[in-house]
């Protein structure tokens, strides 16, 4: 089916170079590579928007009693920042990487359902635009536009009509519902592709770790997204037909929403970190010149995380007053998930051990990922200890913790991936020098911003406050955090400069610039529409290693 439809992709009559022809090719494409790039570009666009929102918040919090931003606007900023970064940056980056790489890595010519793939992207983008339309239409009859201000977790009953007038919350709810359809479509596609499109010899056991992780990730999406969609539908019913699921003033339950939301929300964190795990598992071996240490253990750990992640959600609810038995259960399951996560970290370090490490930019991001993810994991253990969580919950410590996970882990992992696969996708290398500037500035700025937040939490600073009084010991830490943002911005400017310059005049990459081992490096850069001239046949998990070392191929050992 895939091989039929991709030939119908673009009418041959469109001239290659005209702007309209190019536009037409992009908007009508069902090619997994173009869709992958569209996802990534949309994600970067929203990343800039979400980053701008974060910058404004850090400007407001740099000094106590600041009047730069009104409380109403601040609350909209953090709501839109969180929603944007999770649903409009994390999810599409994930989908972009999965779309681009999975078929290439398993020797397929496209995804299993190319048109569903295009549907997924466009419905995601529509969801994102719907959310942002709230800036114009969110006030409804109550005045001019306003973005939602209920937080990205949108606790009931703050979202009910009594407390959230206008339609901004509806845009939030429907925007997420719609973009969630795209995520589910993309997850179904990845699963079908992995199970039915692998090239001859590509057994599950030989699949690249990245593909394995995207497979487990897609299952998690299928499990986690429906409860969120159900909750959004319930909320919309509440707000428009008086259903009263979460309307506490009419007997609804505030905790019901939290169960629905976090049964999505916690697997979601692992959903977001998995593409980074996958990327790191591909990049570290290539730049250490060794195969991944303990393949089966790394894959098994991912599957274990997938299972356990569905039973930890109430650790977001330790403070709502659950029974001590419930709290103990969720503390135990949360702490247990540290085991498979630890196994992964140990295996990555063991992969580096005994290798010949090349510290090029992708590897630099992987190394920072390792340090920062270890911090995130260990602060996660601290938070998992329920009694300590009674103090740390909803404090700035949590903000520090999950930014270490999602920026220090996910974003750093994705930057490693961008530097690593950019040559494949564009045919041109990204500049090393600018890449190093990007890395060091972003790394320093990131740590300067988010390390102090842990201390703010220890000193009792709650989250989601638009200002604070002087003299509570929070000033110096907030100032440090805000200064860090400046470093991050300059680092990111280097990144965008690097991308634009390389697209125009970067050195040509060739098929295999990193001397790597997985199938995507066996085709041209960028790959042709059909990916592979002849479908490859593989005999091990490192087909290009076998090709390059005919005297000592991997399949001899496995």
């Amino acid at each position: 089916m895939a091989s039929v439809s991709h030939h119908l992709d673009v009418p041959e009559s469109q001239p290659e170079s005209s702007l309209s022809g190019n536009m037409y090719r992009w908007v009508s494409t069902v090619d997994h590579k173009r869709l992958g790039l569209l996802y990534a570009m949309a994600a970067l666009l929203f990343f800039v928007i979400g980053g701008t929102q974060a910058t404004l918040m850090r400007m407001q919090l740099a000094v106590p009693n600041n009047h730069l931003i009104s409380p109403a606007m601040y609350n909209r900023l953090f709501t839109m920042h969180g929603t944007t970064m999770v649903f409009l940056v994390g999810m599409p980056l994930l989908a972009g990487f999965a779309n681009y790489l999975v078929p290439l890595m398993i020797g397929a010519r496209d995804m299993a359902f190319p048109r569903l793939n295009a549907f997924g992207f466009w419905v995601f983008l529509f969801g994102g635009l719907l959310l942002y339309y709230s800036y114009i239409g969110g006030g409804a009859l109550y005045g001019s536009g306003s973005a939602p201000d209920v937080g990205w977790f949108a606790n009931a009953p703050l979202t009910e009509n009594a407390f959230s007038r206008g339609t901004s919350t509806d845009y939030w709810s429907l925007g997420i519902l719609v973009s969630g359809l795209g995520s589910v479509a993309s997850a179904i596609n990845v699963i079908a592709t992995v199970f039915s499109m692998r090239c001859p010899g590509m057994t599950l056991a030989r699949m690249p770790i990245f593909v394995w992780l995207m497979l487990v990730d897609s299952w998690m999406i299928l499990i986690a997204l429906p409860p969120l969609s159900a909750a959004q539908i319930m909320l919309t019913l509440d707000r428009h037909v008086g259903a009263r699921f979460f309307d506490t003033q009419a007997g609804g339950s505030a905790l019901l929403w939290q169960h629905f939301f976090w049964i999505f929300g916690h697997p979601e964190v692992y959903i977001l970190i998995f593409p980074a795990f996958g990327t790191v598992s591909e990049v570290i071996p290539v730049f250490s010149r060794k195969p991944i240490f303990g393949r089966q253990a790394v894959v098994a750990a991912a599957v274990a995380i997938g299972f356990i992640s569905t039973s930890v959600w109430a650790h977001h609810m330790f403070a709502v007053g659950l029974s001590s038995v419930t709290n103990t259960f969720f503390a135990a399951s949360t702490l247990l998930i540290a085991i498979p996560t630890g196994i992964k970290v140990f295996n990555w370090i063991a992969t580096m051990y005994g290798g010949k490490l090349r510290f090029e930019v992708p590897m630099l991001f992987c190394c920072a990922f390792l340090f920062q993810f270890v911090v995130a994991g260990l602060t996660g253990v601290m938070l998992g200890v329920a009694p300590f969580n009674f103090q740390l919950h909803d404090s700035y410590f949590v903000v520090g913790h999950f930014h270490f996970t999602l920026v220090g882990g996910f974003i750093f992992g994705m930057f490693a991936g961008i530097y690593y696969w950019f040559p494949k996708a564009t045919g041109r290398m990204l500049g090393q020098q600018a890449g190093r500037w990007h890395f060091w500035l972003f790394c320093i700025g990131f740590n300067l911003t988010f390390l102090p937040m842990h201390v703010m939490g220890f000193l009792g600073m709650p989250r989601r406050i638009y200002t604070y009084a002087p003299g509570r010991g929070w000033e110096v830490w907030n100032m440090m955090a805000s200064i860090g943002v400046a470093f991050q911005i300059v680092g990111l400017l280097f990144f965008f400069y690097n991308v634009i310059r390389s697209l125009r005049s970067g050195p040509l990459a060739g098929d295999d610039p990193w001397d790597a081992w997985t199938l995507e490096w066996s085709t041209t850069s960028p790959p042709p529409e059909y990916n592979f001239e002849t479908i490859p046949v593989v005999r091990s998990s490192r087909p290009l290693w076998d090709l390059k070392h005919p005297n000592d191929p991997d399949w001899r050992y496995g």
Binding site: A319, G321, L336, G354, Q391, D394
Partner: protein, 344 residues
């Protein structure tokens, strides 16, 4: 990270100690450091917190040492042969088993300790005849009631010193609108105030003083300025405070003219002054507002100037607050403020 944080924290504590010195006069502890507890729940949480931080710091140091030494030792050197690949090692079952089971043991210890401390914080008996208070969350202030003592006030909670000299205090936490959270870091970890639900929290503070806290669950526009003060005092002082708060005002000895102006305005629709016709329930009880240290739920000190600015236009001081600008004339303002100041 943990060592880094610990050293950063030391700087913070130093700063905290300096500030503590300046605030000590009023007995107000402005640095709400969770590692400096003054009641059993916060102390239990501090202890397990330090325990888990010790373990995570040890793990952090070990992993980082391994990672850094690997990075240095196995970096490619200029003299290395480009084409020569290092030995290809695929894994080792013994090593995998080792780094599965050792962390598993650590995690089992943590789970056991966690279960135990959860029992201490959530299950423990606060002792005989505790003082009982109802704390009710509103957008954006805390209603405070001591039903057995007949006290109704807002945002500032007085409790007796516990231990040999006095009983513990039980809080019943509720909400009339959205979810709030009760958090006084040095006394106890937070517990949410959920509508249609009553959570209970107990404290047995050991040191007199005023402890600051915040609403810790996002609850709308002015979540940031929904502040709490818990004043811990010897039992006799506490009982004297409660008796004073319980009393209705004596309508004859108060500022009569101010009272009449107050009662002629729509202030009374939202605010109560016990002993007078003002019996609104929507806003804080004002019967003894003059005796409070702060107004605007802990945002500003309770001085006549601040009170005047607040009554004149609360929106200006605290945008989004549910108290509207009543557009009082200057004379009305003077009368109302002098009346409120007199409500000791």
């Amino acid at each position: 990270m943990a060592p880094a944080i610990l050293s950063l924290l030391q700087i913070g504590l130093l700063q905290a100690a300096l500030l503590q010195g300046t605030a000590a006069k009023s007995g107000e502890r402005r640095i709400t450091n969770i590692f400096e507890p003054f009641a059993t729940p916060a102390a239990a949480e501090r202890d397990i917190g330090l325990f888990v931080m010790l373990i995570t710091a040890a793990i952090f140091v070990a992993v980082c040492a391994l990672l850094i030494s690997t990075m240095i030792r196995f970096r490619r050197k200029p003299e290395d042969d480009e084409r020569q690949e290092p030995p290809q090692v695929y894994g080792s079952n013994q090593i995998e088993i080792a780094w599965t089971f050792i962390p598993l043991l650590i995690i089992f210890v943590l789970i056991g300790v966690t279960a135990r401390v959860i029992a201490v914080v959530q299950g423990a008996n606060p002792g005989p005849a505790p003082v009982r208070a109802r704390i009710i969350g509103h957008q954006w202030w805390f209603e405070v009631q001591f039903p057995e003592l007949g006290v109704a006030t807002a945002n500032e909670i007085h409790v007796p010193v516990a231990g040999s000299s006095g009983p513990a205090t039980m809080f019943q936490l509720e909400s009339v609108d959205v979810i709030h959270s009760f958090w006084v870091p040095q006394l106890a970890g937070k517990l949410d105030m959920v509508p249609n639900r009553a959570n209970t929290l107990w404290i047995d503070p050991t040191e007199p003083g005023t402890y600051l806290g915040n609403c810790a669950e996002y609850c709308g526009t002015q979540h940031a300025n929904m502040l709490l003060r818990v004043t811990v005092e010897p039992k006799d002082e506490f009982l004297a405070w409660a008796a004073a708060q319980k009393a209705s005002i004596n309508v004859n000895t108060q500022d009569v003219e101010g009272r009449q102006v107050f009662e002629s305005l729509s202030c009374v629709n939202c605010h109560a002054v016990r002993g007078t016709p003002a019996n609104g329930k929507f806003g804080p009880d004002l019967t003894h507002v003059g005796s409070r240290q702060t107004i605007a739920s802990g945002m500003i000190p309770n001085t006549p100037q601040n009170l005047r600015a607040w009554v004149n236009d609360a929106q200006e001081m605290k945008p989004g607050v549910l108290m509207p600008n009543m557009k009082l004339t200057k004379q009305e303002l003077d009368s109302v403020v002098s009346y409120l100041v007199s409500l000791k």
